[in-house]
């Protein structure tokens, strides 16, 4: 099986978020960047499992600068075979999706995996754009995937339940909880990762439709109003008068 996993770099959830004076740029001082957790835990691991089951190759692709190599090496250490980095700073999801599409068009991938969203822009955009550009079937928020010949059977999260679907390969899917269990890279994996190929790919020209104007931090949260544990009536009154839910 020929598998491609799209990986992205994001600030760790515990990072403090701040912006420069223009409001356009994240201050990266003290921010720890990681491999986007959903790409790592769910998408990458499931692709590696399928390779272990059926044989084949797991490629990872990342659109970003050279400073992202550390997360790419991590993906190789977890078990991907080869990595590609499209050398550009994506201005948004459309950039990322277009670059990956241009790359994937020339290779016959059976499955293209992504995480359900990135934990920085939280848009769930790249997967469906990529499927749209490549004209491939797309399942979002897949929590289970089994392969039988050329047919993929998937469970995916929908409001209040799950959908079970069947899709003929090739396809694109975004992965959510349930898809696989996180794998911690071992020493051998880390050593091998250094020897695995990491190819730098030149970007293609892409037209941007939207533009980031500025970031904004939410207004400081007003401090908490504490209610004494024996003043239950006060609590009831809050549910009634302030929250208006009873």
């Amino acid at each position: 099986m020929n598998l491609l996993v799209c990986i992205s770099k994001t600030p760790d959830t515990t990072s403090k978020i701040a912006f420069d004076a223009s409001g356009k740029k994240l201050l990266e001082d003290g921010v720890q960047f990681i491999l986007n957790p959903y790409d790592e835990w769910y998408a990458l691991v499931r692709a590696i499992e399928l390779k272990e089951q059926f044989g084949g190759q797991v490629d990872v692709i990342h659109v970003g600068e050279a400073s992202s190599e550390m997360i790419i090496r991590k993906a190789l250490a977890i078990g991907a075979d080869a990595a590609y980095r499209v050398d550009m700073t994506p201005a948004g999801s459309w950039d990322t999706a277009s670059q990956i599409a241009a790359f994937a068009k020339t290779r016959n991938y059976d499955l293209i995996f992504l995480g359900k969203e990135t934990i920085d822009y939280n848009g769930s955009e790249v997967g469906s754009m990529l499927a749209g550009i490549l004209d491939l079937p797309y399942i979002a928020y897949a929590s289970k995937l089994t392969i039988n010949g050329q047919i993929a059977t998937l469970e995916s999260e929908i409001e209040g339940g799950i959908a079970v679907s069947e899709v003929n390969l090739p396809m694109v899917l975004s992965c959510a909880k349930g898809m696989a269990e996180q794998r911690i890279p071992n020493m051998m994996g880390i050593m091998n990762a250094k020897k695995k190929p990491l190819e730098v790919v030149s970007p293609t020209d892409v037209h941007q439709h939207i533009r980031l104007e500025r970031f904004e931090l939410p207004p400081a949260k007003s401090s908490v109003t504490m209610i004494a544990p024996d003043d239950i009536d006060k609590l009831v009154d809050i549910f009634h008068s302030d929250l208006k839910i009873i």
């Binding site: 769930s124 469906s128 079937p137 929908i158 909880k177 439709h209």
Partner: protein, 318 residues
Amino acid sequence: MILVLTEIFHQQIKRTSLESLTLAAQLAKATGSKVKALCIGDGTPSVDLGDYGADEVVVINDSALLENDQLCDLICRTATRDNASYVILSLNSTGKSTAGLVAAKLNKGLISGVTGMNTDSGNPLFKKNVFSGKASAWYSVDQHGAVVATLPNGISPVSGQGKQTSLSTSNSECVTSKIKRLERRLQAGKTPLAEASVVVSAGRGMKDPSNWGMIEELSDILGATTACSRPVADAGWRPHHEHVGQTGLAIRPNVYVAIGISGAIQHLAGVNNSRKIIVINKDPEAPFFKAADYGVCGDLFEIVPKLNEALKNFKSKS
């Protein structure tokens, strides 16, 4: 023209669709444009969509079970025919699986997770949540308009627009899907967590799964949906679909009641945009109090049963 996708489920218009329609109506007002609501689902609109700002409503027959490629085809055909500048839908499961397909096919920009808009400068700017709720970002779009996916519970529906709407029906005339739906398993009864306006959530402070009766009771009294922290779902105390936070579901209810949950950053990442947060925890140092609007510091095993009784009393009197 601004095209809005409105979804009908169990003969009810989805609240998330009214949110999208509200944004569309504001945009139409600012740009002197008209709003067309494309209704898909299992019925006709349960409310007057003109009241939420639609000028035209088209109900699509046989559209209860469209797959994302069919829906994309339907939206794109309609948008092209009407020369729509904007396509607005919700970033619910329909939007997550369809918005990018539509943007790619219409060759438009996509902004998803939108919680607001500013039209003061003439050109609309859209605001979306970023960094798991820790900040927001403002985007402008080019002259072609965009596909905009609104964040569930991110915009309050505004009625009273008083538009006279024209209502028509049409057949979906859809392409065959590449996706074969085998089954759809839905939990019966309560509002799905992602759409719930009140959520009662509990964590490891509950000590044992057998103690959840009081949480379910509180939830029933408040007409809420139940949720839980990750360790509780991992331990099998509660079903996985209740797990909220970074690895679980991200939600944005109007009211989030957190009971016996410490408020770790990974938990907050999924709930910190709730409009109001109420925390019950016995540890005065629990980080959740910093994110809360109201806090009660004490033993949940005493507070919750008393609260349930008091709420029931209140309800029976009013």
